[in-house]
Symmetry: none
Amino acid sequence: MEKKTQGRKKIDMEKIKRRDYLQVTFSKRRNGLFKKASELCTMCGAKTAIVVYSPAGKAFSFGHPCVESTLDKFLATASLIEIGESSLGVPSFPDYHWNIGINKLNRHINELVNQLEAEKKYREGQFLWNKPIENLKFHELEQLRVSMEELKIKMVNRTEGLKRASMLSSYIDINQVRRTEDKGVQ
Amino acid sequence: MEKKTQGRKKIDMEKIKRRDYLQVTFSKRRNGLFKKASELCTMCGAKTAIVVYSPAGKAFSFGHPCVESTLDKFLATASLIEIGESSLGVPSFPDYHWNIGINKLNRHINELVNQLEAEKKYREGQFLWNKPIENLKFHELEQLRVSMEELKIKMVNRTEGLKRASMLSSYIDINQVRRTEDKGVQ
DNA sequence: ACCACTATTATTAGAGG
DNA sequence: GCCTCTAATAATAGTGG
């Protein structure tokens, strides 16, 4: 029962080398970050989304009111501004489109697919990919989406363990903090 | 020059009512949040993306190494997990969807864009990028096709990279804080 | 892995410029 | 709006269970 603690050391802002310390520090500081975000949301009425990847690639997220809505709003607005600003005073639209970076277009496509899925979900109240492929009606659009899903499913099969428990698990009412158990930062 | 300060008051974790206080508190705490995130990134080698919306709807973001890459990774993984969970008990989609033709893909993307345009018009009205897209469907389509191929390759590469350690990338800059000017929370 | 403790540092509310 | 200052609170590194 020796209560001799040496107290907090001044942080040196270097990457921690010891793996056990890294793990515990990551856990503590991630919780602190989410707590700060929660305080910012409740005190100031802000909307916040945080995504943190541990060095091992494990994902943790915080969202108020939820991660997806905040991120969707951000991505949509960013893309709109991006496209709108780039086309301001630039009559030669082909050049813009040909010069735009692949990454931006990738994000654009991801956004298109995500938004369309959200819209269809909102309209139809059901994900079409729960149904057998043979019954799909909008064959062309469906085939595109199914192909993308197949792409993603292959990613699931390859990324083995870090998937299902990571995200989209449970939402807590107050803060919508959702996190998985911290299996390690390694 | 009266230096009588009354010190910090215990926070009451309620929504601040005074608008000027709300503004300054939002600013201070947002900076504090980003600083904490930066520390987490440098100390633990984490990847982080934060999006904060002020009550006025103004967006602030922090990202390490950048917002987009972290969010892209999150959204891709989230989508595949979502699909993975939803497809539990559903036999895997056949492989031929991987080998879908480029020409078909062109039509699919075209329909995707058009349908999304329609949906967004229906839901929210006109958007800035509606008009240019109508003027240049061919170029848009061509670029989207290229980006789809890139996306496919990129996702495969990313998946293979996930299995190995993702700590290869160097975390150089302190913050890579990208934010807009704080015009007010109101 | 998580929890408790605590000395010490870090953050910040409130005020003034 | 932003910066400084400072007292007071909050977060946390290190330790033990």
